[in-house]
Symmetry: C2
């Protein structure tokens, strides 16, 4: 057991918390979404929470932790769903939530501290010059920008820009290494892939530079359909319309909207599936004409309501908020993350819908994936047993729909990130003692693990990027 | 012969020109690009040029022309390539070049008069609020906005937004009808298709509302490759990168850049093919990393040159400017407009390149077409005979590459616009005497013409848009 009295002394001047109840609070994220992770991680807790106010304090903290051989798990707001921010080996939670400054805004760029809340970044860039981030998770109102870069994948806006895996969607990161004398690295272009979606295992992000796009007063619109596949076909056709600017396209199957969207249920019939969209104001005419042609019923549009009081923004019905809303009503529900590769994505969705019916109510997110429109799914699952859950996953994969398993806490088993020799070499350089968020990167813990085995990864391996 | 003295009297107060030399000048466009149209249209001329300064004067002119039964052919800057603006039956040229005002700019929208020069619109929207048009023809510095809407198809920016055929890429048009008492129609959504790319046969556009997007100081970059297919593969891969923001991607085969780009030839080797791109400043890092991985050589980048004096903007090397530059050096050259449908577009280009070699030097424009990346081509053709030109077209079509024939002056034969019953009904309402730009819409001249016959049209028929 490390000598925490000595550690606290070494950290003097930096905010530290050791009240076990408060430490436990900051040792948890949204792992409980998964009935499987819930069992596995329930008792995980750190020993100390350290909350630096500057990069200098981050460096001091890592230096001290390194000297004492104590694990460090970084944390933004702890909204991750796979226990990413949970300290499997105890030690220090490095809480970045006090470093919230937006430091610089330029045409197409913003520079911020790691703990900046995403919606705050958008508010400031919009006020400054009518700009906003290209995309954000549906947790924008609570999640941090570095937590998104280190733990997320994509979100609202990915229909236009793809995800964090795509070159150009993060511009630059400053990263502090976990060494006797921590170094500060500036990463850009290919090198970013070493740190994006690496769960903080490869260094602590202390500054983030993100690309911006133009911001609009997006109009929330819900389009109703009598059957889910009608909604899916509309979503797919809309996503292929070059000229109709939208920021979000999510078909959600009945009975989800009526049963679980408590504030919006007044607008939908029990048997109605909906497509949740966010439309640019100047695209509304074209959008409405197109929805009409596809026989969609406009059941909700925010720009004609007298008051939006009490209604969440539409994006808080989408991505993993769909799951959250269902869980609130029915705690036995869980979910999957499925990819339906183009060009057969609509047919694949139809097949899964036919096979599982209401055991796996559909929820899709349309997005650009390597330049092609396809959909990812976050379907709900009416959970019965672990065995049945594994079976549902297997059936999806047998039908050519890779599942990124949200019931695994390692990078590789979740299918999120392919680790390889380049990644390992980088970790050896930046975290030689393996103290950063231990237990999350199998390649490090168990070099004999078979990474490839035909599995699909969302974030490809680094050797894929090397100049061939 | 109409009584032009009476007509001039009726038009008193409106600017009128009847000097035959000046009238002939305003009766011509870039039809001479095509050796075939050159023969056919060489002697076409109008009798009178009328240059209204306001919508009111447009209405008065149409009223007078209707009363006298005189044909009216609208004209912007006369940069069309298919004789669109040429008065086949003489009569009046309605010159809109004096109506140039940008009337209103808002978030995502601009309203202007028909004769506004496209680059001026961009300058004003940029100065006003950092906005610009989604896409423009490479003639932006000379062409008018209504001429583009009525005679063009797409251009620089179509890689992100598609073309004029796409719902949402024109917001609203005001159109004056050719009747005893001309009416003013306001068209939006589906109805716009009646007037876009209709060569002015369905009414005179007096106001245009277009969507805007964010403007950047786009960086001109030329990437060199040893062989054309290397350039094509880079272009295709770049077009599929979600996160790298570019406005233009045009692969151009050797020897075109060295032989015909007189100002840029200093930057390329004689045997080098290039990809002409325009890159957002904040995307340069990612762009250069990506080009490096694809073994592209950065032969020109505008952001590191001391002076750009004497160099045209890169977009004036693309679209039909590629052809223009070749024609200036070698007047025997002509061109085609080819579509290479996705997902096999790269393979189709490879096959055509193999078949024709230097007889048809490649020039592609990558763009989004119904939500999918594909390429259109404006390959040069080393013209020998009409028969060989027709054969080259047939071979393309036999290989699944539709050709929009730029050697035809009618809407339908060029393959640009499918006319149908809806279109005809609209024309009967707006131009009952058939006085607007006569001779350009075969469906009107010859109702027995077989429009469909399996042909591909760029602008689909109106019945395709009707609510099914
Ligand atoms: C309701 C709900 C909806 C969601 N929707 C989305 C969505 O649309 N898209 C999406 O991608 N995700 C989504 N998520 C997952 C998660 O919210 C996002 O990834 C979010 O951006 C994480 O931010 P955070 O600040 O909460 O990070 P945390 O959960 O605190 O951390 C995430 C990971 O990043 C690491 N980390 C945090 N800060 C740093 C740092 N400074 N340096 C290095 N590593 C660091 C942590 O160790 C952890 O591994 C959702 C989750 C919930 C509960
Ligand atoms: C070098 C070169 C490059 C080009 N590049 C492109 C390109 O990138 N993309 C592209 O789409 N085209 C291109 N073109 C074709 C042409 O330049 C464009 O379509 C251009 O926008 C036409 O504008 P204009 O003002 O010259 O129209 P004009 O040639 O004057 O007119 C075009 C058509 O519109 C009609 N018209 C004009 N004004 C009105 C009005 N107010 N109401 C109704 N009808 C009207 C005319 O009768 C005519 O049929 C190119 C041409 C050249 C010579």
């Amino acid at each position: 057991m490390p000598d925490y009295d000595a550690i606290k002394k070494d950290l003097e001047g930096i905010e530290v918390e050791d009240n076990p109840k408060l430490v436990r609070q900051k040792s948890r994220d949204f792992f409980w979404y998964s009935p499987i992770l819930k069992d596995q991680l329930e008792n995980v807790t750190a020993d100390l929470v350290v909350s630096p106010a500057s990069e200098e304090e981050v460096i001091r903290t890592l230096k001290v932790a390194y000297a004492h051989g104590v694990p460090v798990t970084p944390r933004g707001s702890g909204t991750g769903n796979y226990g990413q921010a949970m300290p499997l080996s105890g030690g220090i939670i490095l809480n970045l939530a006090r470093m919230t400054k937006v430091k610089e805004i330029g045409p197409g760029r913003v520079v911020c501290e790691p703990g900046a809340i995403i919606a705050d970044v958008d508010r400031q860039t919009k006020a400054h010059s009518g700009q906003e981030l290209r995309f954000h998770p549906s947790t924008a109102n609570t999640a941090t920008i570095a937590g998104f870069v280190a733990g997320g994948s994509g979100g609202v806006g990915s229909i236009n820009w793809g995800g964090l895996r795509d070159l150009g969607n993060v511009l630059r990161l400053r990263v502090v290494t976990m060494e006797a004398e921590p170094r500060v690295l500036e990463l850009s272009a290919w090198d970013l892939q070493k740190v994006t979606h690496a769960y903080g295992t490869n260094g602590i992000i202390t500054e983030v530079e993100m690309p911006l796009t133009v911001s609009y007063d997006w109009v929330d619109v819900l389009v109703g359909f009598d059957d889910f596949m009608g909604a899916v076909r509309f979503a797919d056709a809309l996503a292929h319309e070059n000229g109709i600017l939208v920021k979000e396209i999510a078909p959600i199957a009945a009975p989800i909207p009526f049963q679980y969207f408590s504030r919006h249920k007044q607008y939908v019939r029990p048997d109605q599936s909906v497509v949740v969209t966010m439309v640019a104001p100047h695209a509304m005419d074209a959008f409405l004409a197109f929805a009409g042609k596809m026989k969609g019923e406009i059941v909700f549009r925010a720009d004609t309501l007298e008051s939006l009081k009490g209604l969440p923004q539409a994006f808080e019905l989408t991505w993993n908020h769909t799951t959250l809303r269902a869980l609130k009503v029915d705690p036995t529900i869980t979910y999957l993350q499925v990819q339906y590769p183009s060009p057969d994505h609509v047919a694949k969705v139809a097949e899964m819908t036919r096979l599982f019916g209401d055991e796996v109510p559909g929820h899709l997110e349309f997005m650009r994936f390597s330049g092609k429109i396809q959909c990812s799914g976050l379907p709900l699952v009416r959970f019965t047993t672990k065995e049945r859950l594994e079976e549902i996953i297997r059936i999806h994969e047998d039908h050519g729909c890779p599942v990124f398993n949200p019931h695994r806490y390692t990078l590789e088993e979740g299918g999120m990130k392919r680790t390889d020799a380049v990644q390992l070499t980088f970790k050896k350089e930046t975290d030689p003692k393996g103290l950063l968020n231990p237990g999350k990167m199998i390649a490090w813990e168990n070099p004999d693990f078979d990474f490839s085995a035909g599995k699909t990864f969302l974030f490809p391996g680094l050797s894929d990027f090397a100049e061939a």
